[in-house]
């Protein structure tokens, strides 16, 4: 073999196509989704009435995040065909040709198993069990099973994203309680209006991919009605939670303000038709989507604030 044969362009080109960088594998973990997982799991862990050693707490959050990321990688492995069709997902590592499907599968499975085992060793079997169920639910039940078959895909998929605070709570306490179920319910009820608002102004993407989003199967009018109904139910739940163990006066004020704003936008979305929405380029729908991000952040920050105040003897209604 000569120097020339080693320096020809073709082997390098082939290798370039097949060799991903570190950042490409990191992108498989859906880092933006992971921030939500980390934040909500952290709140679940810190809001729990049982103290955790900082190193164990850090490890627990890290392994929950890795488990969530593994589920994201396995989701990308299965959905690479439709990711290639949608503008929003075309640049993901597999459709972009940076990582192969097999690599993504191996990466996802390895991290999934490792995160569950390590969370078990770091904390307890219940937390690890819920993490394992979450990964299974997101990948098998949602991604492989239901996403392409039912317009309620967002509602079902929302459950997977709602588990992290419950895992954080279980990591600290070793139990599932009303408080952790309420945190689960908050994210579960929040997810549909959040994603349906996005689906209204990202029109076309899901049609192209053939994903049965509510906007496609039942029409945009029905989606607007669904957003309002879910937002009303969410508001009742979110404000009601103020009078439980995770709530208190600070949480109540935050919940009242943000639910009033979210309801205002949901009503505005419900009252509009497509002509009005197109006329101002979906201004209200985009505003509601942005607000929904702040909504969740504010509620979980308030839960954290109540827990911190509780540590000083000032939290809750006592």
């Amino acid at each position: 073999m000569s120097d020339a044969s080693l320096n020809t362009a073709s082997p390098v080109s082939r290798a370039q196509e097949g060799e991903a960088g570190f950042g490409d594998f990191f992108a498989l973990l859906k880092p933006r989704v992971m921030t939500l997982v980390v934040f909500t799991a952290l709140v679940g862990l810190l809001a729990a009435p049982v103290g955790v050693h900082p190193v164990i707490g850090f490890a627990a959050i890290l392994f929950i995040a890795v488990g969530g990321g593994a589920a994201g990688a396995l989701n990308m492995w299965w959905e690479s065909d439709i990711d290639a069709l949608m503008k929003r997902t075309q640049k993901r590592p597999i459709p972009a040709g940076k990582v192969t499907r097999d690599e993504a599968f191996a990466f996802g499975i390895t991290l999934a198993v490792m995160s569950v085992v390590m969370l078990w060793l770091a904390t307890n079997a219940l937390a690890a069990g819920i993490l394992a169920f979450t990964i299974f639910f997101y990948v098998v039940i949602y991604t492989i099973g239901l996403k392409r078959w039912t317009p309620q895909n967002i509602v079902i998929g929302g459950a997977a994203g709602a588990f992290p605070p419950m895992i954080g709570w279980a990591a600290a306490t070793g139990t599932v309680s009303l408080e952790s179920v309420l945190m689960f319910a908050l994210i579960f009820m929040w997810t549909p209006p959040h994603f349906w608002a996005l689906a209204l102004f990202m029109r076309g993407d899901y049609d192209t991919a053939g994903v049965p989003m509510l906007t496609v199967t039942h029409g945009r009018r029905a989606t607007r009605v669904h957003i309002l109904v879910y937002t009303v139910l969410l508001a009742a739940l979110a404000i009601g939670a103020a009078f439980t163990g995770i709530g208190g006066p600070v949480y109540l004020v935050v919940a009242l303000v943000f639910n009033a704003l979210f309801l205002r936008d949901a009503i505005a979305i419900w009252r509009r038709d497509e002509d009005q929405a197109e006329a101002d380029n979906y201004r209200v729908e985009k505003r509601a989507f942005k607000l929904s991000l702040w909504y969740l952040f504010a509620h979980f920050t308030a839960i954290l604030a109540e827990a911190a105040l509780g540590g000083l003897g000032l939290g809750g209604w006592a």
Binding site: L6, N7, V12, A15, F22, P54
Partner: protein, 54 residues
């Protein structure tokens, strides 16, 4: 002319290996930290079966 011309691919490969190395080093440090935290815990006790087998 060097035997292997430096290519963007080599930089990417180095970056990936460096990243993996740092992740593994961090993992080792974390497991060590977890061990210290667990054995320092007030509730820590050597399992009975291990004590008997000694």
């Amino acid at each position: 002319m060097s035997f292997r011309e430096e290519h963007e691919l080599h930089k990417r490969r180095f970056g990936r290996n460096l990243g993996l190395g740092l992740v593994l080093a961090g993992f080792v440090a974390l497991v060590f930290g977890m061990t210290i935290a667990k054995v320092s815990d007030d509730g820590f006790a050597v399992p009975k079966i291990e004590q008997e087998g000694k």
